[in-house]
Symmetry: C3
Subunit: 407 residues, 3 copies
Amino acid sequence: MSASTGAGGVQEALAALPLVDHHCHGVVTADLDRTGFESLLTEGEVWPGSGISPFDSPVGVAVRRHCSPVLDLPRHAPAEAYLDRRAELGAAEVNRRFLGACGTAVFCVDTGFAPEPGTTPRELAGAAGGGAVAYEVVRLERVAEAVAAGGVEPGEYGAAFRAAAQDAVRRPGVVAVKSVAAYRTGFDLDPARPSPEEVTRAAAGWLARADDRLDDPVLVRHLLWTAVDLGLPLQLHTGFGDGDIRLHRADPVLLTDWLHLTAGTVPVLLLHCWPYQRQAAYLAAVFERVYLDVGLTLHHVGPARARAVLAEALEITPFRKLLYSSDAYGVAEFHHLGAVAFRQGLAGLLRERVDADELSPADALRIAHWAGRDNARRVYGFTDLSDLDDPADPTISLPPTSPVEHH
Amino acid sequence: MSASTGAGGVQEALAALPLVDHHCHGVVTADLDRTGFESLLTEGEVWPGSGISPFDSPVGVAVRRHCSPVLDLPRHAPAEAYLDRRAELGAAEVNRRFLGACGTAVFCVDTGFAPEPGTTPRELAGAAGGGAVAYEVVRLERVAEAVAAGGVEPGEYGAAFRAAAQDAVRRPGVVAVKSVAAYRTGFDLDPARPSPEEVTRAAAGWLARADDRLDDPVLVRHLLWTAVDLGLPLQLHTGFGDGDIRLHRADPVLLTDWLHLTAGTVPVLLLHCWPYQRQAAYLAAVFERVYLDVGLTLHHVGPARARAVLAEALEITPFRKLLYSSDAYGVAEFHHLGAVAFRQGLAGLLRERVDADELSPADALRIAHWAGRDNARRVYGFTDLSDLDDPADPTISLPPTSPVEHH
Amino acid sequence: MSASTGAGGVQEALAALPLVDHHCHGVVTADLDRTGFESLLTEGEVWPGSGISPFDSPVGVAVRRHCSPVLDLPRHAPAEAYLDRRAELGAAEVNRRFLGACGTAVFCVDTGFAPEPGTTPRELAGAAGGGAVAYEVVRLERVAEAVAAGGVEPGEYGAAFRAAAQDAVRRPGVVAVKSVAAYRTGFDLDPARPSPEEVTRAAAGWLARADDRLDDPVLVRHLLWTAVDLGLPLQLHTGFGDGDIRLHRADPVLLTDWLHLTAGTVPVLLLHCWPYQRQAAYLAAVFERVYLDVGLTLHHVGPARARAVLAEALEITPFRKLLYSSDAYGVAEFHHLGAVAFRQGLAGLLRERVDADELSPADALRIAHWAGRDNARRVYGFTDLSDLDDPADPTISLPPTSPVEHH
């Protein structure tokens, strides 16, 4: 490839690349009224009577710009027109359009936080069409809370949770586990594996409470160490999220001691990261099994800032360590918008470097393919992705699985 | 408006927009010698004999670039020439020129930290001319320290401070209160309202000390909760400031627990924020009543970087949550430079997005008006700003007031 | 100089400026195999069998782009070709080429962390040729650890360390001391000088351990205060480093209390800083004797992002407070790449501001000379740099010294 075609080449390549969205959620299958749609647009709440609509935010502007054409509306359509057209088409058609438009070939779906009524992973991939497949990510806090809800003695909790988690990840199509420890305690935890006695004592306290939300620091540590034992890649929410987060406790560098203690075990995938994407990049640079994405952030900042955020995330991140995720939840607009922001943001960044002769066109293409698809394939062992440029690219050693819709 | 005129449109619109500067201070009314002027240029100290002048810093370069022409000097005039011309014109004329040039229609003046001899809020607005008006912001630490200085028993301190604060905000023209808790203890405080017994005990300790600086953690918490009871918008210093700050303790996300506990009460306006503007944006995105600005930062980084800082601040901030402030203090150059940096920085950012078709020209104009004027109008209830484009834009429910110069 | 030549002028001036690299290390004098070279490319480890090469990272791309031509290879040469050519030329020739190409006139070499077999400071400057000189920076943890290894009673440790440090800095060519407290305890320490009794007690504990790594918090504080007593500039590792760092504990603002307590003493030079360059800038803006650089970061992010990092570092940093360092270690590529990234990044930033008329061409030139050479000259008292534009520029008051190769 010549240098002159190279710069355009990376943009076209990224626009056409079937993405692996390694962390997302299902979409609502019912029609949404204005409040219902707006409540899914924001990580905050809808604020009735405030005069402030989630449409009047970067993500709202990006939806009106990039999602309107998918619904046959002009770019920047007004919010009312957008909602009217959405209602007119109906949820099924809207979902089909956005999930088809996003060009995602593989969806890894966190089933521990799903809209009601919403798509199963299989339904999500089916709505995307074009042979898209879905895998499942098991949210471990949900497993633990189900164990508690089912009734368990404190002294049996540790073993019961482990057994339930092992059962959960043996289900067909499961490729990873996830923890929202960031929400429950944050990462400034004692990094050591708790002893069985500590777990029993903590479980006694937790199970005695009416609240079923797992937020005991000892049990959160136990959950993270159980994740290590399961042997699957571990996705960790870090940084940006809804109003329940304490952002400074979700800074991924707080995990450093724990990463040292668990060296040589499972891949750890830092999700979202913003505004700590540089801190996440540091961890990805010095720990062999740490990876990162800037999912969730991509659609919230929109294509207007996705490149800037990616540029920070990539300052020192090894190019085999950046993955794509949308973290889309509830509305299929976000599966689309995340993909648009990722493709445009990364292409703009790589193209600029090729234009400045800081990067060769061939390297730009390789980085684009790695970040959009092949890095995830290696981490999750998607050996069935047979259309790869480089079929010899080794996956890291993990138990093989098949997508959920094959079952 | 057509797209082609739109991009230029937002620049012109922002250049012409009468701003609401929702947080600033008065200016010195005496002539300043070189040391006096330099000491007001920097958030540090003047370092005599160091060979380092505050002119040799981004703010110094920006003053020489943007303020020289207002004093009839060529752009980038040398520091000596600038100081000579300033002395030649005299303080009153210099103040009149900059306050007139800044195009600010409303000044909200923190009267708890004012230069001596300096302008009153009415004098500040008077020097600006053109019908500019001023309101007052009451700094609560000053009220508390006056109560202590006036003599009070520990057991009466809580009630006496509350009564004094209520009196202070009843004065005509008062539209907000402010706290510098960031300087005194930082925000890593127990978020709960202290009990009367705790307040009495803490007051006994504080009043027994010779130092009259309110820095007891219990009394700072009491002050913040008293602010909530007063019912007025609460301005909070966060992030960047002088050498007394501990920057990491002024990260606004440390307020998260307190913001949860005080949900549904007064608007909270995060001032300055840098370098934690993304953290502030997160809070503005998930808490209905949290707002932010990047005042103080704007003139210190200058127009050369104002756009970059605003771009980070706006990554996820709802567009009705960004306000303008200069936080200018002492020299009227900063009232002007803050306005120039804000207008140019925001216009550059919006124009780039319009040019990239990421934003419609109409949306760009709306965002410009909101950030420069209308968001402040809503928060502070400036119903007397009758020249609004959208007079139907509701203000949030607050007691009405009138500017201080009407009295 | 006219404005039109000015913008180009700063680029040419920076390209030609003999730099003072105020913090770097020696280079390996032996030939390196692939693993040996790759292990020096990354702040992490080499991960054999992972399929991830340090070449597939921003620093690897930058080496292939900017270092290949120095070895007579085309830009963006493949890693294999690069390693082959490197082996073909041999270590001595490779080192000679890069150290000559970097255009550094003065190397300040941290001799407390040096490759084996590696260059002495004198050898490093000799390989650079062209009259380059080297000075030495004494790493105080090494001095303390040598005292412990030599055998000392706990009650004598304090005095013995002080005496050994005084001896070390009396060696010819020593211009500064350095601490890696960031690695050992981080900066969230009690800022006060420990009492002799505390030092004795802590020394008893440390000396009784088999481990000779100085990481006792009391002894680290004692080391920092001893550094103050030595009277030489103190370099402090902050922020980015290898996997041993806890990044959040290396945020330089955690030093604020200590900087207040040690006001008026030695210059403190914050090294690296990333991703806390804005926090470092705050300290440089408010503390007279605080300086900063973004060394190490420059070559890891490469010229593609050096400008963005410098732009953040310079948002509020006084222009006499930014220094250049490479923090190159082991491979001479980094002495070259750090210089390229600094020259191009700073020139790009300054040129953009001149083009936007935010900075005069003369000011741009002055800032370039200050940051690349003259600020270091002032701090370290390099009065023998007789080719200065402004020989009247005063150095700060420090004992005079001569470069190590004069002895």
